[in-house]
């Protein structure tokens, strides 16, 4: 039997099915889509943080050679508004510009040169408005309003959670620490920037290929914003060349659709270059967090208070949901009976903030896990012992009042970390630092809720089809943005159907061919779609057995098994090939679908319906405890990270190789957040335009990363797994901050921890 007859099996470490195509360049991303007779579309942007639009002079642009269309808000027939929860973002700005990257006009041209020329010739007549750039300042009564029609003023979202009597409890504690933390704006820095390709036919039907995390939601957004019937729009979503949340929501879709409709019969391409991506794409919310944390002398945590301000930019773009998830996680994965938690997502004239891997949790974890070490230092308790003492176990309520119902592996993670040489030998390692080098070890913990929470249906519909040639098509409506879920689906279906890799063909998201299965986000794809796929694959298997029993003239289907390419009757050894069955069966019989909806917490720890709408509370959580070793150069403040250990409880592991890869990627992205990455908008103007000023870690900066799984079984998970996509990015930052403190006794509260900030703190600490 040739090696390719080795069937897929759950739990087996293997290269992803998409690896070869990507490594060799054979895989086509959205960016690789070109058509004959291509037109280019591009956007004229506002260029100022806040202004009333008095006029847009497009005449010169229209007459530029090679220009096919110049469009403004007047050309938009629908609501001209987009957004998942609150629809507040125009396709093309109509009355005002709310940040420098706002799209004001759209040009379609025969070439990129013509496009650039035309965009340069559009003249905007803008009446500057007072702008606001600080989220706390934005909430003051006298702040200029960014959406004057919005009932909440500049408050996009606000919620509080109160348990026990936090103020009294804080005043009763033996030790209370406090801090104000500033977290930066982080860019997704995906390889493939925002782009798409669209073609309108003469009847106005649209065929759009786009780099997106949400093809089915995109279709609704485009239809509503442009005033189109949903069934006239087809969206195809190939593999993304990175997304990380930055493509969770509209980027180019409506603009492209508008451009294509203006030039029927001609394919139109839009591709935001890196600078435009920095300017107009969403970013991780910058945040300011005021924390107080109190404990008894023995380290028992008693009370936590947090005031969290998120700068959401001028549009919702999931900012409210990000805020709600941050609030839910603000008290960390600990038993703290008294809690006073509050969050505000404030409109500003800064760049738009939105979804980013971690989704509000990295910000609160940065603060909370720093606070944990600050309490430990004050009480002279080992930071690990403090965490073990207070770690949530199954059945406990977290500080937000949410019961942990599913598997809870936090203590298991801590135990594993504690037994690891990187922890046990930390003092020896620290003491062996070379000259002018300070070494330290830091840890941090997290739990991360999975899925959409209670209100938005967290569901998926899987389809699987036996083809004429005996192979299977797996129809997945949820995007693979690089995390490997498409490969995971083949592994799941392949295990159930006992087929080897070449016998399963992925059908990537396409609103015409696959089924609505939600966004590729919230650590949900393999969990939710995976459960749907298990149902579909098992249903198809039963159907195949029933028909194979007929064909083999046996009465008992329980004596049948699937082997590569065939059904075998065990008692007699006779086989019928799947290709023969494929030819026998009616197309409807060969196609099985299954709809799955993820479990939702029946808990209502807070009466606020708005909070519930924004996804609170969750019912299943993954957990992690991470350890980092840092070396600080005492002369330059430069931090290097030689070793990293991530211990994760993400349930049972589907493919250990892909799991490690996903965790390593998240850790490196989290180290960038900790040490280098900051998108700077100076009074709303983007100062960070490319990777010469936006520093992301390269392979040479990455530590040696060990990724360990404590593989508890999650009952609700497909084959026992839980979401693993986000948790790895939540705590590299506080782990490094704690390691930095261990190394040189300075505690940074403003991030990233650049050499300048570290050196300044070192100098200040050593000052007499």
């Amino acid at each position: 039997m040739p090696p390719d007859h080795r069937v897929y099996q759950i739990g087996e470490a293997m290269p992803r099915s998409d690896a070869l195509g990507k490594a060799t360049g054979a895989e086509k991303f959205s960016i690789d889509t070109y058509g004959n007779d291509l037109l280019w579309a591009g956007v004229k942007r506002g260029g100022v943080p806040h202004a009333r639009i008095r006029g847009i002079d497009i005449q010169a642009a229209q007459t530029t050679p090679g220009v096919r269309a110049v469009l403004t808000a007047r050309d938009v027939n629908g609501t001209n508004r987009q957004g998942v929860i609150r629809k507040d973002q125009p396709v093309l700005a109509d009355d005002r510009v709310r940040h420098c990257g706002d799209a004001v006009a759209l040009v379609v041209a025969e070439s990129s040169a013509a496009l650039e020329a035309a965009l340069d010739r559009i003249v905007l007549d803008l009446d500057p408005l007072e702008a606001i750039f600080d989220p706390e300042a934005a909430l003051r009564d006298d702040a200029p309003l960014i959406h004057p029609d919005h009932a909440g003023g500049n408050t996009l979202f606000h919620a509080t959670i109160q348990n026990g009597d936090p103020q009294q409890a804080l005043s009763d504690c033996d030790a209370v620490v406090e801090g104000c933390f500033d977290l930066p704006r982080q860019a997704h820095a995906f390889l493939e920037t925002e782009n798409g390709w669209a073609l309108a036919d003469d009847e106005g039907r649209l065929d759009i290929t786009v780099s997106t995390q949400t093809p089915f939601r995109d279709r609704l957004e485009v239809a509503e914003a442009l005033g189109l019937a949903v069934d006239r729009i087809r969206i195809r979503a190939p593999f993304c060349g990175g997304a990380f949340g930055g493509k969770d929501g509209i980027t180019v879709q409506s603009l492209l659709a508008l451009a294509a409709l203006s030039c029927p019969g001609r394919p139109v391409k839009m591709w935001w270059r890196r600078e435009e991506s920095f300017l107009a794409g969403v970013k991780r919310h910058p945040a300011r967090l005021y924390y107080r944390l109190g404990a008894d002398r023995d380290g028992t945590l008693k009370a936590v208070s947090a005031r969290i301000y998120l700068d959401t930019g001028p549009y919702d773009h999931l900012g409210g949901v990000v805020a709600a998830l941050g609030l839910e996680h603000a008290g960390g994965p600990y038993r703290i009976p008294h809690a006073d938690l509050a969050v505000w997502a404030a409109y500003t004239n800064n760049p738009v903030s939105g979804a980013f891997r971690g989704f509000g949790v990295p910000q609160v974890a940065a603060a909370m896990e720093s606070m944990m070490d600050m309490v430990a230092a004050k009480l002279r308790i080992c930071p690990l012992a403090l965490r073990r003492k207070n770690a949530l176990v199954r059945g406990d309520r977290c500080p937000a009042g949410v019961t942990r119902q599913g598997s809870v592996g936090l203590l298991e993670c801590l135990k594993t970390l504690e037994a690891h040489p990187l922890w046990k030998e930390r003092e020896h390692w620290k003491a062996s630092a070379g000259p002018n080098t300070m070494r330290g070890t830091g840890i941090a913990c997290i739990s991360h809720g999975m899925g959409y929470g209670p209100t938005v249906p967290d569901s998926a519909t899987a389809g699987i089809r036996l083809m004429d040639d005996g192979r299977f098509e797996v129809m997945a409506g949820v995007v693979d943005m690089g995390q490997g879920n498409a490969a995971a689906y083949l592994q799941m279906a392949g295990d159930i159907l006992s087929q080897p890799p070449g016998h399963l063909i992925p059908v990537l998201p396409d609103t015409d061919k696959t089924f609505p299965s939600g966004s590729s986000s919230a650590s949900r794809t393999t969990f939710t779609y995976g459960n749907a796929l298990i149902g579909a694959a098992r249903a198809l298997k039963e159907r195949i057995f029933a028909r194979a029993a007929d064909a083999l003239m046996v009465s008992d289907t329980s004596a049948l098994i699937l082997v590569p390419g065939a059904v075998r009757h065990l008692a007699t050894g006779r086989e019928i090939t799947l290709s023969r069955l494929g030819m026998f069966l009616n197309p409807a019989e060969r196609f099985a679908t299954y709809h799955y909806r993820a479990p939702v917490s029946g808990e209502a720890p807070h009466p606020d319906g708005n909070l519930r709408l924004h996804g609170f509370p969750h019912s299943i959580f993954s957990h992690a405890a991470h350890l980092v070793r840092v070396e600080v150069d005492a002369l330059t403040g430069q931090v290097s990270v030689p070793e990293y250990l991530g211990v994760n409880d993400c349930g049972r592991i589907l493919n250990p190789q892909n799991f490690s890869g996903q965790q390593e990627g998240a850790v490196v992205q989290g180290l960038g957040y900790a040490l280098y990455e900051e998108v700077i908008a100076d009074k709303g103007r983007m100062m960070t335009r490319d990777f010469t000023t936006y520093i992301i870690p390269t392979a040479l900066d990455a530590p040696k990363i060990e990724s360990v799984a404590v593989a508890l079984a999650e009952e609700a998970g497909p084959f026992g797994l839980k979401g693993a996509g986000e948790i790895g990015i939540d705590i590299p930052l506080p782990a490094v901050a704690n390691a930095l403190f261990d190394a040189c006794g300075v505690r940074l509260l403003k991030f990233p921890m650049t050499p300048e900030r570290i050196l300044t703190a070192l100098v200040k600490k050593d000052a007499p």
Copy 2:
């Protein structure tokens, strides 16, 4: 929340629930059972390998002071025959003695001193018969018959499996190797030797506590042999102080029952001392195996031929089943299209052979895995590459014609082993040997079938009960002989019911309190009983939720969860304690049972009904690839084993800590089999009487063992697991044999590999 509120979770590494009680001596084994007014029972044994019994003079014994009863076969009212498949073993010998350890008379006395004195005074009048000690010789037509009434002569069991055209294929192969292997008689060497305690009341009802693997089967055996009604016998089976197969079947049970019935109202104890255990207890089958293995030049295996002779001693005692399992596994876990396999279990006058961890597989693996390295050497192929090339994958048929239906992780094990430093750095390590030291690395592979196979029902019934105080009793009718399954059951039920350790109480096997669940053997206990327990625990959980919903006056049980000691209504946070529910509920409602029967292969690769009766074929297999490093002292032939790596595919892991412990124990026992252990019976007379001549590895002899799990998910397994109890002992021997060859170029075919044998081989090799 105190730490003991941490609930059980599947996949969590934790100390076994029985660890503390055992470590502190609080746990009571059968051997620890004493009653007031105790009598001692003991056995007079035949003392010769083969003889007709002319008379037994018990008069002097009867009149010995303190003697209460002296019994012989005449006092047995039933069949006086015991055995699982074939009932050929007398409780007390009637017509003849068939091995030196045969029980001939039974004495009950007030003290061990009186007992010993009386036993010495029993005079046997024996007429010696020609005896037979070699299994091959026993099969000759002219051999003296051990059971003249047995239709098969001295053949207890014989079967053949033929696939393809093995003779032609062997002659067509590019390379053929052959060997004749001799495997020793191994003793279980359990800490707690065979013993028990029995009390008959005045109505003749028996209450027996015994160190056994099979309490429910014991009851049937005792009833039939002694002519009693089954419902008059109660058997209790505490934790065993080791068993390993040596208590899978009758040891003291019938003798004890007979003794107790002779002295109603007085508790009777029987305890075989170490010497008696060596003499009368069962052992692993000594075996002689003739192998031929052929391959093509490129390493593709083509044909295997094996003739396997097992010395089963004078009684079946599962010897036929051992032979059948050996036959099924004889061709190894490889694709070999042509196979000619045959096994004989021959009656001899040696000590009784029977069940022993591995159950026939260690013998065939010793030969087959040596053969693999011999082929590799002949073809100059890497032994690991040869195994990877031919390793079975799911859907393949093994050489015995059995389809691998479940998860098959052999290639995954080999891949993991290949990537390990112990493999990758083997040449460097070998080259750095000190003076007079030769170093080598060896590997071996195995697959091991789980459970009873098709004919004997491999089923279990679990019971679980909510107690008045809110705790749960878990009723398990399957014995924990030390492997930790009792703890595994608490972990399973505890996870499903979300309860912490102290809230679950094990009820150990007791024919009055628990349900028939088969033997503790065949790597089946956690799989089969575990699946039953999942059913029972879920059923009880549903019932608890239904009644809790009534008590809490809520309509939807889906909003209820279990937390330690209570049911919580998530929507309102209200709780009702389990103790309150325990008091509410009717006893019948609080008790859930579930019956589970393990899946059976629908395959019939061989028409032989006898083979099927003896358990062929299996449907689910665990897999392993092991690596060992050995150092050979060139001057003494002494082998030391510094490092061992076991990579195992036993499905998903329930408790990583217990899994490692179980694998390490098996490896050390397997190394004893490889290097030291041999029970010598010289012309049927036991020469090995204690641990001064029977050498088992101590902690100081044990290597550093790393145990890695490739945790594939087995669909049929409880939480995805497969049997793990036996596989670890199957291949240490061939791994060491292959390492020895790698170290110094000598290939031993006779085991154990004692310094004498190694030195002799070295001298012979170096002779001109």
